[in-house]
């Protein structure tokens, strides 16, 4: 359940991440002095392509490790966790929505949502997943495989999957990037509404000015340096 105390859901401190280039040189992608996200807060993180937005989300999700600095989610310093512990922590505490939906093509809409549940809560009943699919307006599409769904519907399945474990933090990487303007607006509003209703903190990275206008708080990547 989301933590509704004043303790930040996310705290980044002195975070640095570099990648080695093919020529042997290093390029620094992330340099963040400090960033916090409060429970239920919704923030758009703006930056141009290649500014390290996706890398930052992967660091927060524990998929990548920083070269230095601290990442605390719900007070847990995830850089100190083992890889397996980070995997478990991510499944239980963080919902992740990708630009290209990243649904498993061989699985139905319901099964894709249940996959998220399986790694987060174990093999639970499908009731919650069904309810979420109903919430995102796909009650009549639960048995459809991704190829049989429109791109907007696919992203809605991805949203349901990200929320199935009731994470306190939802990360969205260009969630409207693969959608047309109309679908993008619908999906973004849906994501924001559900996060508001459930109290999940939402961090969306985007370079789309239209998306930024929908958020009460917009932080530019450069400002974090």
């Amino acid at each position: 359940m989301p933590d509704l105390t004043n303790k930040p859901v996310l705290e980044l401190r002195d975070l640095r991440k570099s990648f080695r280039e093919a020529d042997g040189g290093e390029i620094e992608v992330i340099r963040i002095r400090q960033f916090t996200l409060s429970p239920g807060e919704q923030v758009a993180l703006a930056g141009q392509s290649g500014s390290g937005k996706s890398t930052l989300l992967n660091l927060i999700a524990g998929i990548l490790l920083p070269d230095s600095g601290e990442i605390a989610v719900n007070g847990t310093e995830i850089t100190r966790l083992s890889e397996a512990e980070r995997d478990r922590f991510r499944a239980a505490n963080i919902g992740y929505v990708f630009q290209s939906f990243n649904l498993l093509q061989g699985f139905t809409a319901l099964e894709n949502v249940l996959l998220g549940q399986m790694f987060g809560r174990g093999n639970g009943a499908p009731d919650h997943a069904l309810k979420l699919l109903e919430t995102v307006g796909l009650a009549d599409r639960i048995d459809h495989k991704p190829r049989a769904l429109s791109v907007g519907q696919q992203q809605r399945v991805a949203i349901a999957r990200a929320l199935v474990n009731a994470p306190s933090l939802v990360l969205a990487d260009e969630p409207t990037g693969s959608l047309d303007a109309k679908n993008g607006e619908v999906v973004l509003e849906l994501l924001r509404r559900i996060c508001s209703e459930t109290g999940h903190a939402l961090l969306v990275v985007t370079h789309d000015a239209q998306v930024m206008t929908r958020f009460p708080k917009v932080v530019k990547m450069e400002e974090l340096r």
Partner: protein
């Protein structure tokens, strides 16, 4: 949702590759199981078939040939031994039971065996199991009639010999029709013979000369045999035999001509001086009063000039030592097929890893641990081998079941097709292990999948 469901979904997504690799495993396992079943079944049946036959005595030559001919109605008789050998052994205090056998004819390929009623009354084809009748009765036997038949057969032999060299015989052999010459030609048929030839009690049949069917074989049309009894199934080679009264065997034209090698070697003068040889038989089956008598008697018989003794169980063991090499080669081929299938599984899954990197990255992003991904790939490989092994075992049994009538026709035996052997559990376990080993390479590749790099949008 659980790992098994993910595995089955993955297998279904690669349906063609999954089916082909499963089929390869199935093929190898079915072949291995069929070979093992047939080998095990035949070995058991052959060994079981020797249980009632402690020792077999016949003409000098190949002991295996003697055993195959007497116990399994296979191969041809190595030759004949004098009836006196039988009489000598019958009166030997170490011998509990001696049963004579004479072969030389067939009916539709089923061997006709001339013997005495001791076969049905006293002989146990397996410990504690005597022949029982399903219908009718056993044939009538009289030793006096047999001796007369011998005399008649010897007379016919001399008559024929005289004709060949143009000599005139002083006095022709006259059949004593009033005593034995008109004895009915009675036969007791084995269960398989009755089933396949549809012979019933009261029916008559004409035998053909020779132990194997042949288009040119001379038929004994003048002497049809009447079926007087049908034996209950014994599941031994006896089911494929037709047993006739030994004396009727020697009433048949042509049966007086067969001579042992030893008789051939005898000087003519010696033959004339001796009491006329009352007759010859193909072999004798012995039951001894004590196992301790086996070796001394075996040596005595083998030291004699006229006959040879063989232990059926030992000969069959030797036979399977020879045959074993052949089926070991076949088994090695079957194992090779399974191993190649294992390699195919490894290659197939390994190649699919390139297409599945994104899926693996998604699962990892959803919280799947590396070891879960590793397990999914190993389970996929194991599942292919598991399904292949299970269907292979079933198909192997079915092949044997379908092939059993052919096997029975050829060897007289069927093998238990629906009985699971312990060795099949080993085959099954081996397949599971093979699946796990085959999955190691692809699983290691999946384990190392770069998550962040494969989550990025593709254009």
């Amino acid at each position: 949702m659980n790992i098994i469901k993910i595995v089955t979904k993955n297998m279904r997504q690669r349906a063609l590759a999954t089916c082909l690799t499963t089929f390869s495993v199935m093929l190898g396992v079915a072949l291995a199981v069929a070979i093992l079943l047939i080998r095990h079944g035949m070995e058991n049946r052959f060994q079981q078939g020797t249980l009632g036959y402690e020792m077999v005595v016949g003409a000098k030559g190949s002991p295996l040939q003697l055993v195959l001919n007497t116990v399994y109605n296979l191969d041809i008789s190595p030759g004949n031994i004098p009836w006196t050998s039988f009489e000598k052994l019958q009166s030997d205090p170490r011998v509990k039971l001696a049963v004579p056998f004479s072969v030389g004819d067939n009916y539709k390929g089923f061997r006709i065996v001339g013997t005495t009623d001791a076969l049905f009354k006293e002989f146990e084809f397996e410990p504690g199991r005597k022949f029982t009748l399903e219908a009718g009765r056993i044939f009538n036997f009289s030793e006096a009639a047999l001796k007369d038949a011998f005399k008649e057969a010897v007379g016919r032999a001399k008559e024929r010999e005289a004709k060949e060299i143009g000599e005139t015989l002083p006095a022709p052999v006259v059949k004593d029709e009033s005593k034995h010459g008109n004895r009915p030609f009675e036969a007791v048929v084995g269960a398989t013979v009755a089933q396949e030839t549809d012979l019933k009690v009261g029916q008559q049949f004409i035998a053909a000369h020779g132990v194997l069917p042949s288009a040119e074989a001379q038929e004994h049309t003048e002497n049809p045999w009447t079926v007087v009894g049908i034996l209950a199934p014994t599941h031994t080679a006896n089911d494929r035999a037709i047993f006739i009264n030994l004396d009727s065997f020697y009433h048949i034209e042509g049966h007086e001509l067969r001579e042992t090698h030893e008789v051939d070697k005898k000087p003519k003068a010696e033959e004339k001086d001796n009491d006329p040889d009352p007759g010859q038989i193909s072999s004798i089956v012995l039951k001894l009063r004590s196992p301790l008598h086996a070796l001394p008697l075996y040596r005595e018989i083998n030291d004699s000039d006229t006959a040879m003794a063989a232990f059926p169980a030992a000969e069959i063991r030797k036979l399977f030592d020879i045959v074993g090499n052949i089926d070991r080669v076949l088994l090695a081929q079957a194992i090779l097929i399974v191993v190649v299938a294992g390699i195919a599984i490894a290659v197939s899954i390994y190649n699919s890893m390139s297409e599945r990197r994104r899926e693996i990255a998604i699962l990892r992003a959803l919280g799947a641990r590396r070891k879960s991904i590793f397990a999914i790939v190993i389970l996929e490989s194991v599942a292919i081998c598991l399904v292949g092994a299970l269907t292979g075992i079933v198909i192997g049994h079915l092949v044997v079941a379908i092939g059993n009538p052919v096997l029975q026709r050829v060897s007289g035996f069927t093998v238990p097709a629906m009985k699971l052997q312990f060795v099949e559990l080993l085959v099954f376990a081996g397949c599971i292990l093979l699946g796990a080993v085959s999955g190691l390479g692809p699983a290691a590749r999946a384990y190392r999948t770069d998550v962040a790099g494969n989550l990025a949008p593709t254009s």
